[in-house]
């Protein structure tokens, strides 16, 4: 029995910039991410990793090609419908944490839940507290996000990405702004969440240790996926 596909794309094309500065960022990229698996996209800066992540996260629209969540093609949806899909099915983690400064750690985690509107205020508070406890921040619920350290902020961002129990987590350099200890801790956390809760994780990274710990590695160059292989079958990434 084949594994269930959480997120896929087929022959994605994306151009960035205008006229002379126009760059062909993605050239016919196809990818399938199964439930319960961790995928890494690696490659040099400007190879198209982030562009791929933003399109798969429905934040950007491809010039050609198709994106599907499970079996549903979503490329043709309106901006409002895409926003709804992002809210329900996708959790984002960015390199620079991107927390809302005027809110506490707990309130940051509650913001996607507020938009979804499926839980009461008390339920949202409880769930946020539970998620923050899960990332080791149970004692810093009411701390303003700007008063948290870089590692703590990234863990809040991870908890927030899980707020609406999404099927897919997309992480753009999630450990790029952290020291080694915090990087390993954040990655372990994500890996456990994926395997324990049956999520799918796609992360873009420059960190070879993290990439080699993923279930699948996709190497990108000049907008192409030049190689895809499961863990342990590839040559060393540098």
């Amino acid at each position: 029995m084949s594994a269930q596909i959480s997120l896929s794309c087929d022959r994605l094309e994306r151009y960035l910039g205008e006229e002379e500065e126009r760059v062909h960022a993605l050239r016919g990229v196809s990818l399938e991410i199964e439930t319960g698996s961790v995928h890494a996209v690696v490659g040099p800066s400007g190879c198209g990793k982030s562009s791929l992540l933003y399109i798969l996260g429905l934040l950007d629209i491809p010039d050609a090609g198709r994106v599907s969540i499970e079996t549903e093609t979503v490329s043709h949806l309106s901006d409002d419908e895409l926003a709804q899909k992002r809210n329900k099915f996708i959790g984002f983690i960015f390199q620079f944490h991107f927390l809302m400064e005027d809110f506490t750690a707990q309130e940051n985690v509650m913001i996607p839940m507020r938009k979804l509107g499926e839980l009461s205020d008390a339920q949202m508070r409880d769930r946020a507290a539970e998620l923050l406890d899960g990332v080791g921040l149970g004692d810093k619920l009411r701390r303003p996000s700007r008063h948290l350290s870089g590692g703590e902020q990234q863990r809040v961002a991870i908890a927030r990405a899980l707020a609406n129990d999404p099927r897919v987590i997309l992480a753009d350099e999630p450990t790029g702004n952290l020291d080694t200890a915090n990087s390993e801790r954040a990655f372990e956390l994500l890996q456990n969440l994926v395997h324990e809760r049956g999520k799918a994780l796609l992360l873009a990274t420059h960190n070879p240790a993290i990439a080699e710990a993923c279930d699948w590695i996709h190497e990108m160059k000049d907008g192409y996926i030049v190689a895809s292989h499961p863990r342990g079958t590839q040559r060393s990434i540098s």
């Binding site: 926003a83 991107f98 509107g117």
Partner: protein, 411 residues
Amino acid sequence: MTPPLYIALRFLTHRKRALLLSLSGVVFGVAIFICTQAQTQGFSRYFIESNIGSNGALVVRSRFRPRYEPLMVAAKNSKGTTSRRVYFEGITNPNEIMRVSRQFPDVISCSPILRGTVSARAGFENATVDLYGIDPALHAQTTDILRQLIDGNFDDFRNNTSAIIIGSRLAELLQTSVGDTVQLLAPNGEYWRFNVAAIARAGIGSIDSTRIYSHAKIAQALLQQPSGASMIIYKLRDRNRAPVLASRFETLFQHNALSWQEREESTLQLFLTLRMSVAITVSLIILLAGFGIFNVLTMSVLAKIKEIAILRSMGYRRRDISAIFLWQGALIAAAGSVLGCLLGALMTWGVSHIPIRLRGLLYTNYFLVTWDWHHYAFATLLALLAVFIASYVPARRAAELPPVVTIRGSR
């Protein structure tokens, strides 16, 4: 609470200096608008009340008949029927006109007046006065004469045909008081002696400095006029119906009829111009407040670009982002309007206690103000409109920001 409102509240309360700046603009704009309108309309309304209280909301005067000129061709640009009328001074049959006009539901009461100009003398002082011969009972029903008395007694006037009521400034001019004697010069050169029964203050300089009330029959004899009344004044249920009623009375009675609006047109236009001028000035203050909010919200959008991108990545729609900034404007407008209305009321109360000695067109010892909810409603509406326009552009700009560009730019 919707998510955009929740976020808007937080954005707003975490930028206290900007909030205070925006709020104070709206508060002062609304308050100054209310206070200035209360003052300008206060003087205008006082004038109207006093004028109607003395001269009635409607007056029927000289009889007329159409001028028949069948062989003459009207001048190309001549207009109106007034130039084609022949007027006869006085009311031909006042009792019949009053009987018929009382049947109109808009008419509360009416009073005939015989009016003439005579010379008055008291001691060594002389003055030309406007003599109003009245029926005391009817005049008391139709005007505010009872309320206008500042000295003496109306009953003393009613019960004594040789008694008069004299305007307050005229009394000062003639140096007379209640109980003194004033002589009025008849056209035949004979002086008639009257007792001052009361002194009245209408509050309008032109009335208080010239008017004397006497009994109608005495005035008729003194003025030697055949007509029993030179005009009839009316008290109406709705003073704003005066122009319509005047037009109907003209047609019905073939007498010239003037509404208070037409009678006092030039003064009312002056007040209206003043109000408009002040309203325009103060509206500019509110617009400036709106411009301040525009700047504050535009800065807020620029400061919150990162947050907007985060919210979009978490599934907030363009309209949610737009709503966050529109809510900020709405909250400023709502709080600013409420506080502005309170401050406006306080300022109006304060202004109404400022001593000012006016003895010209109007008589007053303090600033005159009007308490009218329309001022508060209009100021609030103006503030809401200005703030909405000021918030709309930044809100739209925020909604249009592509999140990917921000996220890429943060790398």
